[in-house]
């Protein structure tokens, strides 16, 4: 399809000297289609918007990461020598707000979903390109509010904004923080809407629902949650602001409100939001596992329906965050049961991925190491979720480090590993250049071990009874905290590595060719980086997804 210049020159050592400046495909790619700032900030090209998002979410990832670094440093000693009580509370609140709404939720959908969905379904762009750009601007309005909150001294409610603490008692910038999350919600809604319409209307001829890559299916399920759940959060935050500014009694019982109403509304959004974070990660891993094994995904339809099942049942489990809140025990019993039900589709996915690897041609290149890391960490996170879904066990570990460890296994171990997996897998497609495989492998291993060292001790801390959001703690917990902080240092450095070698690859990496991983999927049939309008001619799809050659029994 394209004349890529691949590794000209003789020896590998010499190739660093004679770096390839620009390949044929690069000259006509979306990256070279306009060099002005205006061509970037007013672009409607989904690929450029994806890159804008990549830079933006990375920026917020590091701000949120710095807050985490402060906390882990502070927790080295039981009395907390680095921060004040108030400072610690503000650090974990900003860490949560930034990581959840400005990194995790937009991370995979807005970067890789944006870049890949049109390419994967054979379209030239999303259905509403300008809406796509608008959602990036809205994201930044919310982002600037958040940075303002940070500079103005922060907010001290926890990312959960529980009432009446947030509405009547907290002395931080609650209104501004709520406004930031309120605004960024619209960005989520618009992106979700755009994906749904795109997937329904812009599939290439022959791209039937049964031929959609699992990446697209999973983003479809995510988009449905984005569109249905986010408005509930938007309204809830508006109600907090109304109570705080105007004294309307909604959540504060002293004004005649009900604080548990807030928790119901908040988790009605925030539990499905967990699936907003993890379904795109599963989307990535399904692609990566198939490409790693060079083999069709085992049980395509089971994986498709497990994504849809998670999206549906995920709406019915929110009150498992409230087993000790003073709810009726019968309500607890119902939500405990439903929370066990939602584990079933996740289990299906994990077993199906494992079966996909069976008798494959397994590659251990960086993207696939990240994918396997994801499976391992997600399994631990998911199964400890079963412990939390059990009523009597949750009563003990609720609001302790056990919960902290559990959701970091899902969101950081799971989603962030998948994010890095996606970044390594599609980096050659996005930039046209291949990075250092050795460094990539090393990073994947460091992230995996650093992560486990940081968060596994927190399961033990939690069962021992260390409550979360504690700045000053009982000295008996110190050893495990020091271990955790040491792990977080490794993790922090491991997150910095890709910065160096991926950016280095932009200039000095070898041109990657159209399909460096020899994967299936329409995105690998176009040049790397893709031309401005993706496909010169809209392709006609005639093959099943993951149409890898396999050895059939009986030599067929």
């Amino acid at each position: 399809m394209s004349e890529t210049v691949t590794g000209r020159g003789g020896s590998e050592e010499a190739s660093r000297e004679e770096t390839v400046n620009e390949t044929q495909s690069e000259r006509v790619s979306y990256l070279r289609a306009g060099h002005t700032l205006r061509s970037w900030f007013f672009t409607t090209d989904h690929k450029r918007i994806a890159l804008l998002y990549l830079i933006s979410v990375t920026f917020f990832f590091f701000i949120g990461g710095m807050a985490a670094g402060l906390m882990r440093t502070d927790l080295l000693t039981p009395q907390g020598d680095v921060l004040s009580n108030e400072g610690y509370n503000r650090a974990f609140t900003l860490h949560g707000v930034i990581m959840v709404w400005f990194f995790l939720i937009p991370s995979i959908p807005n970067v890789f979903g944006n870049f890949l969905i049109p390419l994967m379904i054979g379209a030239r762009d999303l259905a509403f390109p300008r809406l796509n750009l608008l959602s990036w601007y809205i994201y930044w309005i919310g982002g600037l509010f958040t940075l303002w909150v940070l500079l103005a001294g922060g907010v001290d409610t926890g990312w959960t904004f529980y009432t009446p603490l947030s509405s009547m008692f907290a002395n931080g910038n609650v209104v501004m923080a709520a406004a930031a999350v309120f605004v960024v919600g619209f960005s989520s809604i618009l992106t979700g809407l755009n994906f749904i319409v795109t997937i329904h209307t812009l599939r290439a001829p022959g791209m039937t629902w049964g031929r959609l890559p699992l990446f697209v299916w999973s983003h479809y399920a995510t988009s449905v949650i984005l569109v249905l759940a986010t408005p509930v959060l938007t309204v809830t935050l508006a109600l907090i602001v109304a109570e705080r500014l105007f004294g309307l009694g909604i959540f504060d019982p002293a004004l005649g409100g009900d604080p548990l109403l807030y928790q119901h509304l908040f988790w009605f959004y925030s539990h499905p939001a967990v699936y907003i974070m993890v379904l795109p990660a599963m989307a990535v891993v399904s692609e990566l596992v198939a490409a790693a094994a060079r083999k069709p995904v085992f049980g395509y339809w089971f994986i498709v329906f497990s994504s849809l099942g998670i999206a549906a049942v995920g709406f019915l489990v929110w009150a498992h965050h409230m087993f000790v809140s003073g709810m009726s025990m019968y309500v607890g019993a119902v939500f405990s049961f439903l929370s066990l039900v939602v584990a079933v589709p996740s289990g299906i996915k994990v077993y199906n991925w494992t079966a996909t690897l069976w008798k494959g041609h397994i590659s251990l290149d960086p993207p696939f190491l990240f994918a396997m890391g994801f499976i391992g960490l997600f399994v631990v996170g998911g199964l400890t979720g079963l412990i939390l879904a059990m009523l009597a066990l949750d009563v003990h570990v609720h609001d302790t480090y056990f919960v902290v460890a559990h959701f970091h296994y899902i969101m950081v171990g799971g989603t962030v590993s998948a994010f890095f997996g996606a970044l390594h897998f599609w980096w050659p497609k996005m930039t046209g250049r291949m990075f250092s495989i050795g460094w990539g492998r090393l990073t994947a291993l460091f992230i995996f071990f650093g992560f486990n060292m940081t968060f596994f001790p927190q399961f033990i801390l939690g069962y021992l009874g260390m409550p979360r959001r504690y700045h000053v703690y009982d000295p008996q917990f110190q050893v495990l905290h020091v271990l955790s902080s040491a792990g977080s240092t490794i993790l922090g450095f491991a997150y910095l590595f890709p910065f160096a070698y991926l950016l280095y690859a932009l200039r000095y990496g070898k041109p990657s060719g159209d399909n460096p991983w020899e994967a299936t999927g329409l995105e690998w049939t176009v040049p790397s980086p893709p031309p401005k309008h993706n496909f010169d001619e809209i392709p006609v799809v005639t093959r099943e997804p993951y149409d890898y050659e396999v050895e059939k029994e009986g030599g067929a």
Binding site: A170, T354, G360, M390
Partner: protein, 335 residues
């Protein structure tokens, strides 16, 4: 070494042992369910690594029976644990009728405990070993959560609403007590200790801190100084219903419904007298919202409780339901 790093928390009750047994058994199941994934991924990654010769012929790429079985078998196994854990949770919500009641008021950032004999303490709770204790808890400001790790229990403490927690500690000792729900600046300092004492030590402790009046007697004093007695004493019950024998009884309201006169009802009636008016009486009682604080309310309730009722005091939501099913307590007064 065990001093250097602790990996299992102490147990101070039978219930704690039950919870530990449950989590250990469930962890066993979790390991059984996840081990195949971990082992097979590593095994496949080695055996079928790219470029390595292996038999890769396989018949199918989907198998509905296999997939259905690995979805359903783990689920049914987990349901066994669901029944087990839900049983324990229900026990935790059904205190024995003879439990000794301790009143708890949480405020930023301290815990106040009031014993029936009038002894009060802050951030320390003394209880006798082997006796069921029911904590009747309320917050003066935001949501807190009383966490007793050695007993494996916690319960959120809400403003304007009583919640309760019961336990029976069976090992004397001093254990940690903490606030588990984030409540602002000094959240992490809002802790203390649970002191479980032998019956004799507890009796001695009560003696040492004995006050002139029991909690109920203090409430009786308040009842008079606040002027409640003017209307509610038996001599003058034409204007207001009597409080004698009220506690734990069903009360017919002017709107035709019935409520059980538990602590929550009495507290609400003092603060919001017109919300639930007893049938046959005019709604003329003024509110005492800014007159009496949370600890005063605890005393008043104790006084009214002491004036007795024929039946033992029933925890809200449970047996109370048999008296007035339509009033299964305002949204789950999870005891």
């Amino acid at each position: 070494m065990s001093d250097f790093i602790q990996i299992w928390p102490g147990q101070a009750s039978d219930y704690a042992h039950s919870v530990d047994l449950l989590i250990l058994a469930l962890t066993g199941l979790i390991i059984a369910l996840s081990a195949p994934v971990f082992i097979l991924i590593v095994y496949f990654a080695v055996k079928y690594r790219r470029g390595h010769k292996a038999d890769r012929q396989h018949p199918m790429n989907r198998n509905v029976w296999l997939e259905t079985s690995w979805a359903l078998i783990p689920f049914f196994l987990i349901l066994v644990f669901y029944v087990w854990s839900t049983g324990l949770y229900f026990d935790l919500h059904q205190p024995p009728a003879n439990a000794m009641e301790v009143q708890v008021v949480a405020k930023r950032w301290m815990w106040k405990f009031q014993h029936p004999g009038g002894q009060g303490e802050i951030n320390e709770l003394h209880v006798p070993v082997g006796e069921p204790i029911r904590l009747n808890m309320i917050s003066q400001d935001v949501i807190h959560s009383l966490f007793l790790p050695a007993l494996r229990i916690k319960q959120d403490v809400l403003p304007e609403r009583y919640t309760s927690l019961w336990f029976s500690a069976d090992k004397p000792g001093t254990y940690r007590l903490a606030c588990a729900e984030f409540c602002g600046t000094d959240h992490s300092l809002m802790g203390g200790s649970l002191v479980v004492q032998t019956q004799a030590d507890y009796a001695a402790w009560l003696e040492q801190f004995a006050t002139d009046n029991t909690l109920a007697a203090q409430g009786a004093g308040l009842f008079r100084t606040l002027g409640c007695s003017g209307c509610h004493e038996s001599g003058s019950t034409r204007r207001a219903p009597s409080i004698h024998g009220l506690y734990g009884r069903p009360v017919a309201l002017s709107d035709g419904s019935t409520v059980v006169a538990d602590a929550q009802y009495i507290r609400d009636s003092i603060l919001l007298p017109n919300a639930q008016v007893t049938a046959g009486y005019p709604p003329i009682m003024p509110t005492f919202k800014d007159v009496v604080d949370e600890e005063g309310l605890v005393r008043l309730v104790a006084y009214i409780q002491s004036l007795g009722s024929a039946s033992p005091v029933l925890p809200q939501g449970v047996a109370a339901g048999t008296l007035a099913p339509q009033n299964l307590a305002p949204e789950g007064t999870a005891p």
